[in-house]
């Protein structure tokens, strides 16, 4: 603060006039077009001193009550001074600004609070935003710039405290009218975005606006918004999730996707804004169940139900075929019909579970290093653990039939992990380009081995498990080295 006074060469208790005179004097030697930096310093000093000079006698102009960084919900002025306005001004006459003197008889005093409430009421009740704008423009109170500024802040503060069902077009009209739709208005854009979403969802959930909602979420039949379909969606989402919802929806893959799409379109990605009467957990279930990519519990549930259906179908087929075929003598009904049926069912389910398990494991291992997850050390050390287990089974427990597949699993996992977690810079090299050489190499190796074994008529004891484990460990080490920065960051 003091540097400003030093620069201007005045005492800290100087009044506005002295500050201005000092500034004007210094400006003659520090011209804005000649020495920009010095001018900038001088101007900052001038502004600082001016603000200080204006403060003691309370003549600072009324600033917008919102500070730029402040919490938007805390913006409402607590004490609203009463605002006077003419009740029926003549249109051709210029409106008088709020009279400072005692109000004449025909002037009605309305508190700012009531005025703000009436603005909110009309914003809720008016359907068309253009009409709302016109309504606001026609109000004589708002010709006074001060009243308009104050009421604008109040209206917004009230809305932040107490969101109302209001279309986003109406909110925009209010913001535009009160000049709050710009970046320096002091309103947090994120909070505003949230308010807009919350209000417009409330508005769209009213039965008379279901048409709008259907259009926005593109719930349509033949291109036109379908309110009946939309209401079915909403009715479903109002109930808590039950197992039969999953059971019925798994019958058609389209249905799950449609519901997920609806949920996402409905809240625009802001799932926190799904509030009662809608059931958020239920809505989130459909969103997750229809998210492609990683193996999530919800998708697993839906797909398991689907696998059960397919298994049942296959079992029925097997049942039909087996009961039609003539069995060889000595076979019981059990071994001829029931066992294959059960086998078909169990096989389908097992295949599905194996596939799901692999997909989960693969997805888990391929997560980017920076992505947080539970048991992160297990995720990092899973491949060495698998390698050790596999090698242990193969050589210590002498069970190569268990050890081999485990090592193979580790090998494939480490390869996929290494390839997909490579940095973007080297992404020209992909797993696809490696697939053909791998196949060819595999075929050549197995042929060589077969011919070698054939010639020598003795099984050659190649330590496949050991080689596999070593390659997997190498790949894992490479990957770990690549991510050393994240594992051991430079910062303390």
């Amino acid at each position: 603060m003091n540097w400003a006074y030093e620069l201007l060469g005045i005492s800290p208790d100087a009044d506005e006039r002295t500050v201005k005179r000092a500034y004007a004097q210094l400006l003659r030697t520090t011209r804005p077009d000649e020495d920009p930096e010095a001018f900038q310093r001088l101007h900052t000093a001038y502004k600082t001193a001016l603000m200080r000079a204006a403060r003691p006698n309370q003549s600072t102009p009324a600033q917008a009550p919102v500070a730029r960084e402040s919490e938007p919900t805390a913006t409402t002025p607590v004490q609203a001074p009463p605002v006077a306005h003419e009740q029926a001004p003549e249109p051709a006459q210029p409106a008088t600004p709020p009279p400072p003197s005692p109000a004449p008889a025909r002037v009605v005093t309305v508190s700012a609070n009531q005025l703000a409430d009436s603005v909110i009421t009309s914003a809720i009740q008016t359907e068309d935003h253009l009409e709302l704008t016109r309504l606001l423009q026609d109000r004589p109170e708002f010709w006074s710039i001060q009243v308009k500024q104050q009421i604008g802040q109040m209206v917004l503060g009230k809305l932040f405290k107490n969101p109302q069902p209001m279309s986003s077009r109406n909110l925009d009209a209010v913001l535009r009218f009160f000049n709050l739709d710009h970046v320096l208005s002091g309103i947090d854009p994120f909070a505003l975005q949230q308010l807009r979403m919350r209000q417009s969802l409330q508005w769209e959930l009213k039965p008379e606006h279901h048409h709008e909602l259907a259009r926005r979420t593109s719930v349509t039949t033949g291109g036109t918004p379908d309110v009946t379909k939309l209401r079915r969606h909403l009715a479903l989402l109002q109930q808590p999730l039950r197992w039969y919802h999953i059971a019925t929806s798994a019958l058609s893959s389209e249905r799950v996707k449609r519901r997920g799409d609806f949920v996402r379109a409905f809240c625009g990605g802001m799932f926190e804004e799904i509030r009662p009467p809608l059931n958020r957990e239920h809505a989130l279930f459909w969103h997750r169940a229809s998210t492609p990519g990683a193996m999530i519990w919800e998708r697993f549930a839906v797909n398991t139900v689907r696998a059960v259906y397919i298994g049942l179908l296959l079992a029925l087929l097997t049942l039909a075929v087996c009961s039609l075929l003539d069995g060889s003598p000595g076979e019981t009904v059990w071994s001829r019909v029931v066992a294959p049926t059960m086998l078909a069912f169990a096989g389908t389910l097992a295949a599905w579970l194996a596939l799901a398990g692999w997909a989960w494991l693969d997805g888990w291992q391929r997560l980017p290093e920076s992505m947080p997850s539970r048991w992160i050390w297990l995720r990092r050390l899973a491949i060495p653990a698998l390698c050790a287990t596999g090698a242990g089974f193969a050589y210590l427990a002498d069970m190569p039939l268990i050890g081999g597949p485990v090592v193979a699993l580790a090998l494939i996992l480490s390869l996929r992990r290494w390839l997909s977690r490579r940095s973007r810079a080297g992404s020209s090299f992909s797993f696809g380009s490696l697939r053909a050489p791998l196949w060819i190499g595999g075929i050549v190796l197995s042929n060589a081995y077969r011919s070698y074994a054939h010639d020598n008529t003795v099984a050659l004891d190649i330590p496949f498990a050991a080689i596999g484990a070593a390659v997997a460990m190498c790949l894992w080490l490479l990957d770990t080295w690549r991510h050393r920065a994240t594992l051991w960051p430079k910062n303390a």
Binding site: P32, P36, Q40, A92, P97, I145, H182, F190, P489
Partner: protein
């Protein structure tokens, strides 16, 4: 010699700061105001000014007006087999103005200060500079129109320590500036405006209403007839500034136009336009952090501010009557000449120093993680806030949104909306990041420097490397590059403007041709007069021509008064 130029949407003026203070130059027709209209005649000569404005009606196909509204865009107009940009058309007007100045001064003009609407964007300012270059002068400085008006007003009044609001409604643009004058300092506190709001829009409303009332459509008229209708409506608009009602009673093509308009209805029709003026006024006042009662005066300038409904709007909003001390048409030009005097350090003006503001907010696009961990992109983070005093240099620090980010994309925007999608993108700077560092260590200091001529410089310095990245703004599609300017300058110099000596004759002929188009009843006699005058012109005898010209003018005056 350095001159001051007001390059307006409808009219332009030129002047210089002479021995006796600001001084405007008359054009060849003896008027200060030269209409900003360009036309091309049969032998490829360019016509600028009143004659061209008359030709808007008689030759609408080869005449262009109101091109200032396309400044900074790549729009081109076909004119006699050539396609010309707004810069080139403006350059033609400037050339005509400069010829007037050179005739009055008797010396070559090399430098100019040109006024632009305060709310002109970077692209529009650059286009104006290019127009100056194309006209063959160095544009020493661009001055904001309301600031110019304030200079004119302030110097005239010389009130110490006064704050005032300049309300400038021109032909095509609307500007508001709040200024303070003390101890020889002219300080601009805030500017706001609307680049597409002016007298022309009021005329448009009159035209639409008139056609709607008479159950006609614009397509029912040929371009010639439409131009004629517009000119008459302009008269109606002007008449309404003086009297309560104005009537239009004429024959255009095969349509009889009988229409009456009173002030109340006009005020009602113009209400949407007046409502649009409220926002800039409020914004300027708020940015200046002033209450309406802290303003000493409201000053109206610009031709369109003569409309009573405009001064009524000002009265309603500020609770007091606005002032119109200075001639609203000339105020900006006088201010521009004062600015040119300041630039050349005229001895009389030595004690006046002007500080101006940057009318737009400049900043970068940012994203942010909200309370639920979602990333919200596309938000606008201001670095230089609008109405900061220029030259200004501000910095802000930003950091990458996610760990291990390799590049930080710094997108530069200009505008007022909290969402960048609604603002104008000026350019982009990609800054490489060290992915091994944390986001906090990878923070970048971005410095914006905006100089007195409205040139923006961007520097970004990552804390980790300390290497400064400077931005070279991308070529805006609406702007001409240096080489393009040189090429266009060559092709533009082929276009000849009629010499000043002949301009009076041309203006008279153009006027007669306009009357020929407008008044069916007088066509025969006009045709005869035009033929006779052309014959006299061919004789090339200055004396005869002069005599005939005077007679011809009187005859036309009488005819127009009679009709």
């Amino acid at each position: 010699m350095i001159v001051g130029i007001d390059l307006g949407t409808t009219h332009s003026l030129i002047g210089c700061y002479g021995e006796s203070g600001p001084q405007l130059f008359r054009n060849a027709l003896g008027e200060y105001l030269t209409p900003s209209v360009v036309s091309m005649d049969e032998d490829g000569h360019m016509i600028v000014g009143a004659a061209a404005r008359d030709r808007l009606i008689s030759h609408p196909g080869v005449t262009v007006a109101a091109f200032k509204r396309w400044m900074g865009t790549s729009r081109e107009t076909a004119l006699g087999g050539r396609s010309l940009r707004a810069e080139e058309l403006s350059a033609l007007v400037l050339r005509s103005l400069l010829a007037d100045a050179e005739a009055a001064l008797g010396e070559k003009v090399r430098e100019a200060v040109i006024s632009v609407p305060a709310y002109f964007s970077d692209a529009q300012r650059k286009a104006t500079r290019a127009a100056g270059e194309l006209a063959g002068v160095k544009v020493e400085r661009l001055i904001n129109e309301p600031t110019a008006a304030a200079l004119a007003y302030g110097l005239q009044e010389r009130q110490e320590g006064s704050r005032f609001l300049v309300f400038d409604l021109g032909g095509g643009t609307f500007d508001v500036s709040i200024l303070e004058m003390f101890e020889g300092v002219v300080e601009v506190h805030a500017s706001a405006g609307d680049n597409y709001l002016g007298g022309e829009d009021f005329l448009e409303i009159l035209q639409n209403t008139c056609l709607a009332d008479l159950k006609l459509r614009a397509d029912d008229f040929s371009p010639v007839e439409r131009g004629s209708l517009r000119r008459r409506l302009e008269t109606v608009k002007r008449a309404l500034t003086q009297q309560q009602t104005a009537t239009l009673d004429c024959q255009i093509g095969k349509h009889t136009i009988q229409w009456q308009l009173d002030q109340d209805r006009f005020a009602h029709l113009a209400d949407p336009l007046l409502q649009r003026m409220r926002a800039p006024l409020e914004r300027a006042l708020r940015d200046a952090r002033l209450r309406p009662d802290q303003l000493n005066e409201i000053v109206l300038v610009g031709g369109a501010s003569r409309m009573p409904l405009v001064s009524r709007l000002a009265t309603r909003m500020f609770g007091r009557l606005p002032l119109r001390h200075v001639n609203p048409d000339e105020a900006i030009a006088i201010g521009a000449t004062v600015a040119s005097g300041l630039k050349s350090r005229n001895a009389k003006l030595e004690e006046i120093i002007l500080t101006d503001v940057c009318p737009y907010t400049l900043g970068v696009e940012v994203g942010q993680r909200d309370a639920h961990g979602h990333i919200q992109n596309g938000m606008f983070s201001p670095i230089i806030e609008r109405n900061s005093v220029v030259p200004v240099s501000r910095e802000n620090t930003y950091q990458p949104l996610s760990e291990r980010q390799q590049v930080l994309e710094l997108k530069i925007y200009q505008g007022e909306n909290p969402l960048v999608a609604n603002n104008i993108k000026l350019g982009q700077l990609d800054i490489p990041m060290d992915p091994r560092l944390s986001t906090a260590q990878n923070q970048v200091t971005v410095r914006f420097t905006y100089d007195i001529n409205g040139v923006l410089q961007i520097e970004a310095t990552p804390a980790a490397t300390g290497i400064c990245h400077e931005l070279v703004l991308e070529q805006n599609p609406g702007l001409l590059s240096e080489t393009e300017i040189r090429a266009r300058l060559a092709s533009l110099s082929e276009l000849k403007i009629h010499p000043r000596a002949r301009q009076e004759n041309i203006a008279l002929l153009a006027r007669a041709e306009r009357l020929y188009e407008e008044f069916l009843s007088a066509r025969q006699v006009l045709q005869q007069w035009i033929g006779q005058f052309r014959q006299t012109l061919e004789s090339q005898n200055e004396k005869t021509i002069g005599e005939h010209r005077d007679n011809f003018r009187q005859a036309l005056d009488a005819l127009e008064a009679q009709l």
